[in-house]
Subunit: 377 residues, 4 copies
Amino acid sequence: MKKLKLGMMGGGIGAFIGDAHRRASRITNDYTLVGGVFDVDFERAKEFATKEDLDLSRCYATIDDFIAGELALPAEERIEVVSIVTPNFLHYQFAKKLIENGFHVVCEKPMTTTIEEAEDLERLVDEKNVVFCLTHTYTGYPMIRQMRELIKSGELGTIQRVDAQYYQGWINSIIHGADSRITGIWRLDPKHAGISSCMGDIGVHAFNLIEYTTGLEVKEILADLSTVKEDVVLDLDGTVLLRFDDKLKGIVRASQVCAGEENNLTIAVYGSKASLKWSQEDPNYLYVISDSEPTKVYKPAHAYNSTFAEESHVMPAGHPEGIYEAFGNLYKGAAMAIRGEEIVDGQFPTVKDGVRGMRFIHTVVASNKEGNCWKSL
Amino acid sequence: MKKLKLGMMGGGIGAFIGDAHRRASRITNDYTLVGGVFDVDFERAKEFATKEDLDLSRCYATIDDFIAGELALPAEERIEVVSIVTPNFLHYQFAKKLIENGFHVVCEKPMTTTIEEAEDLERLVDEKNVVFCLTHTYTGYPMIRQMRELIKSGELGTIQRVDAQYYQGWINSIIHGADSRITGIWRLDPKHAGISSCMGDIGVHAFNLIEYTTGLEVKEILADLSTVKEDVVLDLDGTVLLRFDDKLKGIVRASQVCAGEENNLTIAVYGSKASLKWSQEDPNYLYVISDSEPTKVYKPAHAYNSTFAEESHVMPAGHPEGIYEAFGNLYKGAAMAIRGEEIVDGQFPTVKDGVRGMRFIHTVVASNKEGNCWKSL
Amino acid sequence: MKKLKLGMMGGGIGAFIGDAHRRASRITNDYTLVGGVFDVDFERAKEFATKEDLDLSRCYATIDDFIAGELALPAEERIEVVSIVTPNFLHYQFAKKLIENGFHVVCEKPMTTTIEEAEDLERLVDEKNVVFCLTHTYTGYPMIRQMRELIKSGELGTIQRVDAQYYQGWINSIIHGADSRITGIWRLDPKHAGISSCMGDIGVHAFNLIEYTTGLEVKEILADLSTVKEDVVLDLDGTVLLRFDDKLKGIVRASQVCAGEENNLTIAVYGSKASLKWSQEDPNYLYVISDSEPTKVYKPAHAYNSTFAEESHVMPAGHPEGIYEAFGNLYKGAAMAIRGEEIVDGQFPTVKDGVRGMRFIHTVVASNKEGNCWKSL
Amino acid sequence: MKKLKLGMMGGGIGAFIGDAHRRASRITNDYTLVGGVFDVDFERAKEFATKEDLDLSRCYATIDDFIAGELALPAEERIEVVSIVTPNFLHYQFAKKLIENGFHVVCEKPMTTTIEEAEDLERLVDEKNVVFCLTHTYTGYPMIRQMRELIKSGELGTIQRVDAQYYQGWINSIIHGADSRITGIWRLDPKHAGISSCMGDIGVHAFNLIEYTTGLEVKEILADLSTVKEDVVLDLDGTVLLRFDDKLKGIVRASQVCAGEENNLTIAVYGSKASLKWSQEDPNYLYVISDSEPTKVYKPAHAYNSTFAEESHVMPAGHPEGIYEAFGNLYKGAAMAIRGEEIVDGQFPTVKDGVRGMRFIHTVVASNKEGNCWKSL
């Protein structure tokens, strides 16, 4: 089978997230990196392309050059799908131009910087009928997919509480460092990071996992955020109360100042009959607990899992796959969609998840600013 | 050494909590059960006394009989300390009478039903100079005590986030049972349980552990409670946002409807330099995490622990002690205080912890009722 | 109910194991300590009795005084059951005299120092029809009892492999200590410890758990032991290959020089249909694994457990009980037997387990000495 | 940088292990698959090449065609390194021809079927000065590499015991299946699997990890193997006692009939000062235990790790990498060696590890056959 021709916006020399996307795209064997706009510094971009052993004619200085250059090629040679891994504030404008010109898009999160931009992309994707994959990577884990399927099957009874946590600690070394490097880190600077640090970067992942696994929509939120330190202007820590329909409540807890926490994303969905618990740092274990039966531990590569979960894991049981394979599952899903293969609901996060995420971030910040009041999402 | 003569209010035939108190009192070898008012039904009380092989002359029909009878005895024969394990609404009146008559008291929680009663007991204990031990059992675990000592020593740097959880699921079987036994369970009936179910019964334990381990006082709270089901009037689930001085925030999460959760009480205290995590179901492990060093796992029976933690564990390393031994540690501390031995701050929860607990419960209910607003504690 | 009158041989001031037996006896509320021969130094024995607030007339200088004194008392005042917690080499002679005089016995392990002594006690117990409880404490854990019941029920299919481990590290500090205190520790001195250190002290526990949980008898063993260091004469480390009937094999691994291991006793029984795994340091978790179903985690206080397991735990689910409660379960079982109540097979280890243990230790040492050959057990 | 041109022997349609090698080679971005001898059925081989979008002129019918075809090409177009993923019995003859013709080799284990063949390859690799990487995949895990570095640094003091386990259960479904498919599975047929099933397939991995992490050589072994069932001729289960120099002993335990075990490979190295424990199913945790300090848990992506361990992990802390990334680390190491970059000792398993492995397997089988006697390795 022909590999899909992949382009990339950003992700040049030294760009961690670009490297992660490329690894993910290679794992599945569905893509070949062909070209892109790898850096604002064109010389560095070409240096990168050379290092990657790419055809330099496909290394472009600007997105307009990219679009013009690729559209000038015969359709069968043209880059078909483009990964956007630029700084956040460029996501929208790059995605917009690519979609308008018929390219499929794989976009890093956050999708945009405003709700309006997000809704605009949603409209465009629909209009242009392209595939748009937003890389909420954690939705690619087999046991998250099994969680979604178990909930969908009604195994939990009525859902009664949802609790998601995303705790990290790495910002401590920045805000408490000897040289007080606060201004030096783009993530703490609103000009680059947008209106939120903790909720925008990680809280939104927890929120996304809740809606992804339960299939439910959060209706209202109340947020309490903290900047932790005098000279910080963005939230580094916070709690968000959630209300769904009726009597179901939930919570998102997130922090970037929990010293010693690495990437501690967890989700628990509690039902009237049974409950499910999962933790990102040990992703191959899904705990099903109930009041009447022994705790059951689901693991990948077993016939008792749903087809969707099983198709998201390759190795035999007991051979742990990790974050790159989860990431690869999103790229795989996008490839299936681009090729017109049958996909299931939830195969990869879409532009709609991006809209929900932007609503979450903006509403959380507003609730906090207005004195921790309830606001509709 | 002479054993302390122990009396008991309530705790007769079939009373689980009375049995737990007696086991705890026996573990430490400091007490002998002598008599009490074991049941409102005096015949059943005597039946219990017989079963326990007690002197029936020390089995009383009422608390007034008890006080009169014991005070009539020579001081060296008299019951010195009394455990109160009656239904909650009787705690206050029994404690009041006992303290006024010079008895030391070990009291089940919740200490009273109102803040005013709690403050009255606080005043009385001070006035009568008796020992008053409130059985917040979890403070008796060696690793909780080590946690308190590590925080006191400044190991964490500035505390930046506190997160305590207490999740259970057992009420599901009641509210969703075939016969809808809601009215049949006293814990769901405000006449017996007081103004709160989830927060009053378990949320307050999580709150207590936060103040116990950090040595800090919560200043303000915002609560969001849920009755979960139409025909329930008390909270079965909720989240409480906490504010301490300055920029420190925290959270208490509690629920009685998390199907499959047994007694999942956890506490995490996050600092600028390091953090501590503990879970009641695996009480002999204390996790110290930091951004720069490997995670350290503290266990009991090691020279690296504080004296207080070490004195709270008997067996050599690797021989797990449990909830009864934690409970016994409170009884041990009360015995030390009664005998005038030197005790440390935190040796057992006192009437002051009872006052804080009642404030917590009442303020949480008020915040929820008034639309999830911030209220001083 | 009248409490059983308990005597004790050894266990005076500073004796750790005596304290453990007394705590265990108190937990169940079936015994009252009345007297004994607490120390070879009679003054210290009386000091201990005073500290315990005992009647000094029941504090004896020798076992012969004890027997004479107690038999002179009216039957209803007499000590009925005696715990033997002396140094190992005295177990046999004390047990023999006590049994011959009609006392029930609770005996620390190892039961004797030779197989012949063990068989002699077995004969005597049978002849005198007394209750004899050998404190292989780990058989008192609820989940070990559940393991036994699950195996008995055939849940595992054909058992195909058994693997028990008992690793400790505490002897390292002795053999590698600055002052080379090897001669100072009685456990390394054959005069006091007998013919084996590692296998005699801990390996035999692993062996006992295998026969206790599976209900099978080991037929042949091959042992490879190590003294680890030049100047040590007893085994501190070793591996024992086991053969049962037919094609079933197993293994006992034990060591006292695994630096950092505390009391790491584990047992795994592997069957053709499912397998069971348990670890002493986390005793409230029993893992049932199979190739076709999710791993199941059994915990105490659930209706899915066997009656025997459930009767070995008091607290509600999620309240961890520990080693003292397991120990108490043996004392409870002995009390039931002494009172003529109905007991189940496996309620407590008996003199027969003591005979098996002595056979194990002696055969292991012989196999090792004779060049790691197979020997019948 | 130019990618290395990769060939493959075997690994065509439906070959799991071929897919795993290709994924591993793609992860690191150092290789491009160019051609090979993918199948004995040339039509299927071409079908595979088409599916992979390869140039069909590089798809060969036989290894001789492959060698002739590639050597006829200009050096800069020629395949430089070849992965051998054929059935085991072909490894030797393919490796021999490739090495003799100057190709670098990545070879699946077991390297050969006899010790003599293994030694012959060792001689050839030395003579032809090619890179030979044997895919003992587990040596690619960052925490195994950290384990090796910690031991090398002397952190453990004197090593006193080594214990490695490799338990699986998947063969149960074959030997106990309804249709008794024993003859149907090539792994149980000596003609294809060689002289050993359990030890040859998985026991040798445990042995390899012991020598890899400790840097020590096993001198003597005593093995006890089991065929488990009447009609099975190869070992499915066994225990191997190990002796190193002096007083150090160790053990390899392996089984394919432990129902419910997935891929439970563990290694523990016990020293006089500290010990290390690791488990393949949770590969990102390395436990350092000692008698005097809290247990330390090492994880990847931390400055406290050795350079070698850190260079074997890409993602930030808390983002779990898995088996494919470990596999990729071997391919990465081979690429570094082929390019003449500086590598460290242990960067990938070599032909010497293959010789050790074959010695292990053959000596184990001999020891078992000759009555469980000690044999030199």
